[in-house]
Amino acid sequence: MFQRDTLNSELSFFQKIKEMDYTLLICITLLSIISLLVMYSTDGGEILFHTKSHFSKLAVFFPLMIFIAFFNIRYWHTFAYLFYLLIILLLLYVSFFGLKSSGSQRWMDLYLFVLQPSELMKIAIILCLAKYYHRIKVENVNSLTSIILVLSIIIIPTIFVISQPDLGTSILIVLSGLIVLWLGGVRIKYFVYSFVTFLISLPFIISFLKPYQKLRILTFLDPDRDPLGAGYQIIQSKIAIGSGGLDGKGFLKGTQSYLDFLPEKHTDFIFTLFSEEFGFIGSVGLLILYTIIIFRIIRIGALSRSNFSKLFCFSFAFSIFIYIVVNLSMVLGLLPIVGSPLPIMSYGGSSMLATMIGFGIVLSAKINHKQIIA
């Protein structure tokens, strides 16, 4: 049966090329180029370690995205649960044998590069839940068993990731999962109830936070509390962005980054450097680029005939949006500092890998948008 389905529904290579979403592809390419230029600037205008490494990752993961795009999205439907379980196993592995770095244990060494399974979980959880809501009958969506099941699917990886500890990624995993629940039709009142419960239990949650995480929240509330210590990052970040002005200080001329005032400029604070050098115009331009990507993905979801594709595209578009919002709010001083990368722009292989896989699935959904998945 599997064999026959494949043969019957498969498009020819040229049909696939014709059905490819070129607008999205161009936007992703543009984003990749910008990310390379910015990485070049973080290296002080030289092609050094970060630029080279970022380039080689793009060189592997961009073709991977295209490769995935040409695969029928059906396979992702077929293997969604397996993929989710595989990542759970990796998280389990990491929690025992993972590499430690600056107090947390999140990575596994794959010789060629270091993988952070929690980043892949952001995609896996969407796939898993999308398949679940694709298959479940509408009348069963709000049954108790169903709710308990989907909540477990979200909570299990979250516990692993929180214990690494990695608050930022676990929040993103939870939000990525919740959006599928929302789209799947879980009653709005459940969301309202659980949001209220969350607010009430917030003090207890805070009491379970690690001291450094509590410090971050305090620092967010008042960055000038300790301007050279905990508040330093956010103060310097705001200075960099604010001093960029309308049109920025110019490419390679961001003094805040060039003179090392910006911490984490390659990863979580990459937008700060971009915004300092390209100003308000550049920043809004980048946001527009992201917006086009997001709406393009939503459009593909809307075009898709299968609910699996719809659920995946909408959820993925939302999680991309959430990554951006969390990251920008953090560097703009609107949210406490939680480690969360800016998709494609930030240095870091796993995040890029996850994003590219997501893009690949989305492109595949576009190519196979007429496909009905049983």
Partner: protein, 634 residues
């Protein structure tokens, strides 16, 4: 069919819910753009300033002090290039090797090496360590020769204070040195301009004129990174050198004074009797102020401190001496002014006077016989002055002495170590010693002994004011923009007509004339106490009064022994004094000389006046030509 229906319903749910999320997304993105706008457009200035504050750091350099020049424009306190050696630790490859090399090259002590190591551990690796503040030229050359081997060493040229006449002007100028914390805090300007390595005036004019001399900092702006390391230099803002100060002093006269007083303790002051310009002011012995610039060594300091001739004391201003017979012109003037005597008043001197059973001796044991005022002054007859002092009373004498500047600071605003001295009266004694005045004290006050204490500069001013005909002058050591010429001053004194009339210090100008003549005879007539030091040439001819001030009461036995100077222990020898003015016909300059423990004024002090007047009067013409400051090129 049912299944399909359900499927459509499901996708409806998905689409509807997607629409809600999509709307929320737009709102959030608009919020983020608004935040960007507020940071980058509205608050751009604020953050731009903060960013500049981050990256730009200013380094203040020590200001260059203003020069101090003498009347003729010779630099007496200037600035010199000095060669320094700095180590920049981050550039050093092997610190221990470098220290060993430097130690042998520059003969550094182990203590110094330890100091460098301590500094290195304290400072950031790019902060330079000063190994030597003042390298000699040969050391500098040596280091430059081996520079290839001394990685991380930087020879630096900088500017330091320099006193080219070394000890000649120490008591006038003082010196500069590293300030301590208190000294930085108490002066606002110093506090603001202080940078490590800067030196401030510790004494003398360098201290009192600090705010004029100090100059402003040069400022270097550097771009620095987050760790404070300089990345590149942005601009250099030059500092202004401090104001140039021109003194009234004449280096040649100062030099001669130093020469005359060499190996002696004492003081010479010379003053212009009309303008009040101090032409020379030398206290002997002196010391080299250059020693203090880079921190004086313990040995050198002990040598200065323990010198029995007390080089640290500015004797001209802070040395207090009994004026001895040099007070007699004032006593005579006071008696004349108060109509106690007339010039023909005579007293018989038998060598001593008895008063209430106490004997008061004249210096001449055999006595002078009948003496008039002129002869009494000429031969410095003590008996005569005992008698007129007794008739006059100390209170009236005090009034005259005060008028002529005794008991008051002469240059008080410029020297915080200047002493007021003392001229007693009955009230003073009652208030300060709690006992009544005794007539015998009036007698010894009349010959300048007893409670009276004067500084050499006060005696010089007193003489100047007698010489100019009895007018009050304002002594000064710094050339100011006083527009009055010498002729103006003279006219003003005679006619009392100009806007700034000079205070008359007398009632009858004849009385001043009588005193002047008496001083003339003391120097230029036979049997005068300083007759041997006279100059006959009217161009240089001067009038003066000797003084010998007892350090210790002479016992009867000692008086009978009539010991020679060499036979008395140094500490017990009398101070020799001389005050004079010249040229007699058309006076212009007054001076006072004190030689501590020099014996008699006529032997030890008066001969110096002869030398001095020759030089001073020879330079008079030059000095008059030099009055316009703007014409001097330095």
């Amino acid at each position: 069919m049912i299944k399909e229906n359900l499927g459509i319903r499901k996708s409806d749910v998905i689409n509807r819910r997607m629409f809600i999320v999509g709307a929320a997304k737009i709102v959030v993105f608009v919020g983020i753009v608004a935040r960007l706008f507020s940071l980058q457009i509205n608050e751009n200035k604020k953050y731009l300033t903060l960013s500049d504050k981050n990256r730009i750091r200013e380094w203040k350099l020590p200001p260059t002090r203003g020069n101090i020049v003498d009347y003729f424009g010779n630099i007496i306190a200037g600035n010199l290039k000095v060669y320094q050696l700095h180590i920049i630790p981050e550039q050093v490859e092997n610190f221990n090797y470098l220290l060993v090399r430097l130690k042998t090259l520059l003969n550094l002590s182990d203590k110094k090496i330890q100091k460098i190591v301590n500094l290195k551990n304290k400072l950031k690796p790019w902060d330079s360590i000063i190994v030597s503040e003042n390298l000699s030229w040969s050391q500098f050359l040596k280091v430059n020769n081996y520079l290839y081997d001394l990685v991380g060493v930087k020879p630096v040229m900088t500017i330091s204070r320099n006193y080219p006449y070394s000890e000649m002007y120490t008591h006038v100028l003082g010196y500069v040195s590293q300030p301590n914390e208190e000294e930085i805090l108490e002066n606002e300007i110093v506090k603001e301009r202080f940078v490590p390595g800067m030196k401030i005036g510790k004494l003398g004019l360098e201290k009192t004129l600090e705010n004029q001399l100090i100059g402003t900092n040069a400022i270097q702006r550097y771009e620095v990174n987050a760790y404070g390391k300089r990345i590149n230099q942005l601009e250099h803002q030059k500092g202004l050198q401090g104001s140039k100060i021109r003194l009234t002093l004449d280096t040649e006269v100062q030099k001669l004074s130093a020469q005359l007083l060499s190996n002696k303790a004492g003081s010479i002051s010379v003053m212009d009797i009309y303008t009040g310009d101090v032409i020379a002011m030398y206290s002997s012995p002196s010391y080299d102020p250059n020693l203090f610039l880079f921190g004086i060594s313990q040995d050198e300091w002990q040598l200065i401190r323990n010198n029995p001739l007390k080089p640290l004391i500015n004797k001209t201003l802070s040395g207090l001496y009994s004026p001895g017979s040099t007070i007699k012109p004032i006593v005579a003037l006071s008696a004349l002014e108060n109509n106690i005597i007339n010039p023909n008043f005579k007293v018989k001197c038998t060598g001593k006077t008895e008063l209430y059973g106490q004997t008061f001796h004249c210096w001449k044991e055999k006595g002078h016989g009948f003496v008039s005022l002129k002869n009494a002054m000429k031969q410095s007859c003590d008996t005569y002055f005992y008698e007129i002092a007794r008739l006059l009373g100390v209170d009236r004498l005090n009034v005259t002495a005060k008028k002529f500047g005794l008991g008051e600071k002469v240059l008080g605003e410029y020297f915080d170590n200047e002493k007021r001295g003392l001229f007693p009266n009955t009230n003073w004694k009652k208030n300060n010693l709690g006992r009544g005045w005794v007539l015998g004290e009036t007698l010894i006050t009349g010959i300048g002994q007893g409670y009276t204490q004067t500084t050499p500069l006060q005696l010089c001013l007193m003489t100047a004011q007698i010489a100019n005909g009895g007018y009050k002058i304002k002594p000064k050591i710094i050339v100011n923009d006083d527009p009055l010429t010498l002729e103006d001053v003279k006219k003003s004194m005679e006619l009392q007509s100009l806007q700034k009339p000079y205070t008359k210090l007398f009632n009858d100008s004849k009385n001043i004339k009588i005193v002047q003549e008496a001083m003339f005879s003391s120097t230029n007539e036979q049997f005068g106490t300083s007759y041997r030091s006279r100059i006959d040439d009217p161009k240089y001819q001067f009038a003066g009064k000797t003084g010998t001030s007892q350090v210790k009461r002479i016992s009867k036995r000692e008086r009978e022994l009539d010991l020679k100077l060499e036979q008395i222990p140094y500490k017990d020898r009398d101070h020799a004094l001389y005050v004079a003015y010249g040229p007699y016909k058309n006076p212009r300059y007054a001076l006072s000389i004190i030689v501590e423990h020099g014996g008699s004024g006529s032997k030890a002090a008066a001969p110096m006046a002869k030398e001095l007047f020759k030089l001073i009067i020879d330079r008079d013409e030059l000095r008059n030509k030099q009055s316009n400051f703007e014409n001097i090129n330095i």
